[in-house]
Amino acid sequence: MNFFIDFMGHFLTLGGEKIKMKEGLMWITLFRKKTQLLTGYLLLIPAMVCIFLFILFPMSQTFIYSLFRWDLLGDKVFIGLDNFKFLFKDPFFKRTIINTFLYTILTFLGTFTLSIATALLMQSEMKIIRWARGAIFIPVVVPMAVMGLIWKMLYEPQFGAINQILSFFRIPPQQWLYSGKLALIAVTIFSIWKEFGLYTIILIGGLQKVPNELYEAAKIDGANGFQLFFKITLPSLRPIIFFVTTILMISSFKAFDHIWVMTQGGPGNATSVMVTFIYTRLYDSVGLASAASLVLFLLILTITFVRMKLTREETY
């Protein structure tokens, strides 16, 4: 394309007068700019098609289905906002919202605290520390559902390893996944263990970018460990912390696979979260499941938006 434009430009300058040549070059530049623009749009098309097919289209279908009554097999019947009205009256749905928030808060606090503490400990470039960084990342790469099944066996009340370990410390065996009080905590512990490695690596990357001179200068001024952490480390890490906490929050809201393999939302309703609600309703009432999906989407969007507003200067 560029060769063609150059060739035409050369041809015009050879054949025309000075004014015509200037005009000709202007048209060629315009043509080149438009062509580049067109090329850009053409290259964007595959990505746009993917976004449309896998994000926008399913979202619009979800919205449409939420206005219907449909059990997957029979006819779709338009019922307006009845699905939403039912959701906000349904005690089980309300319970799943509470469980989702509880799970998110616990996972968020636990994962973030553990990640930043581990990142601070693992800043060194010693060989053993580098090996340890790899080791903490191993749980991240194993599929959630697979690890969930393994931890389910670990939590087994009679023969599980966790109760065996507790017995060494003379702690009585716990019911874990079979206790209404402990099941959500048990699932959260697993989730923290599984994911903290990823956020630790991200935070280590951020920590390594903090200039050492800042710490040296602060130490010369007499700053202690706490002051170094709160006055230098945390402020320097603000953009990364914002990214990490946002991703962590969103993924916690969407938690499903490990909860399903470990407890299927039970015992009772103890670990039922919004996504398990959506899954269990999907094959019986597509409309209700779609409405719940939309509620979840709006919840996450609202929280993320509020967060962004409150921490405006932390955005990239």
């Binding site: 087994e156 015992p267 009772g268 094959y283 019986d284």
Partner: protein, 428 residues
Amino acid sequence: MKKLMFFLFLIILSSTLVLGIDISTAEPEGKINLSLWLTPISAEDILHSMVSDFNSSQDKIFVKLSIVDWATGREQIKQAIGGGVGPDMFYLGVGLDQSYIGANALLPLSKAGYTKDDLNLFSPIIAMNEVNGEILALPLYYDSYVLYYRKDILKDYGFIAPPATWDELKNMAKTITEKSNGEIMGFQIKGADDHLNAINLAWQTFLEEAGGHYMDMAILKSTLNTPEGKTALEYMVSFYNEGISKLGPSAVAGFREGKVAMFEFAQNQIIYEKFISDANMKGKWAVAVCPKGSVSGGSYSGGQGVAISSKTKYPEACGTFLKYFSRPENMLVWMKGAYGIPTYDLSKISKDKKVLAENFMAQDKENWDAILKQLSLSTSYPMVEQRYGYSARWDAQKRYLIEALMGEITVEKALENIDNEVNQSISK
């Protein structure tokens, strides 16, 4: 080095693509091609072999079998049919599902070449698959809940026969748990352990034994929160309240290890858990009729079957395949593969085929006598009633019944919540 890596990548990618192509079941031209989706109702190689035998015997029909897993298979089938791309024939549990019936998704067998004489060969409980006089799915074999008991443990604690009533079950279980200081659980409810879905089957057993009903069919409302429903659930809860049983420990694993003396579950565990072939278990266990409740000795009875899609273009061909797949000679396949109870009325089929079943049962007479006796005590009404709001009930029961067993909710509240969720599902 970069070139080498690139070529390696290309090789791996190509291999993945080639391995992903399914060439083993290329559909032959000139034949009617039918698709069949089944859950592993028997060993997969046996199912493929049966289909392969059929295909070899046919000039005009070819059936392609796909096995879908138990965990998500039913949803996959429903999704495919709902999307209009479902198979010609598919797995459907005995008892049917109202959402299929309501959507007219099932082809009556009479339209697939089944005559009244053909259907009369089956035992009367084929009525579990009947709607308005039409059989909508063919049962391949039946399952029935039975009481698994450890003869050796019962003997150690002074019991020579399994319990025959609820009171006897409770007393025996309590004695065993107390005298063993909790080392051995006298009785564990399947579903209060690692097999969460099984609570639905256990519940059906106790509910039927208490004379309860899932639905008031006259007004199509869920009716678990009734005196009978409360009797059943209170009985179940009492095992945990009184410390006889504990939530969590596996009934099957505990049974095998001698930590659980009794549990109730489907007869197919005899094969699936290899109790029958495990040398360590020889002589230590047996099955019995479920202890009789306040009203009846019935229990969960269901089974596995195949339905024909109403959208199939080849109903007669589907019928031909089904007749082959479910023929009396194949009774042994289901019996050997899952201890499946024959669906035929043995008194109506030819003697040579009847003898096949009888000879197999004779090898384990004690257990087969109990299984057949249990099936004769069960009724079909629970399976028919459960069709309504099936998925909602299945999920709600799993949650609220367990909450009741944990003592986190009253019996009445648990049943009321289940009724509410089921009624909401039916009324949508």
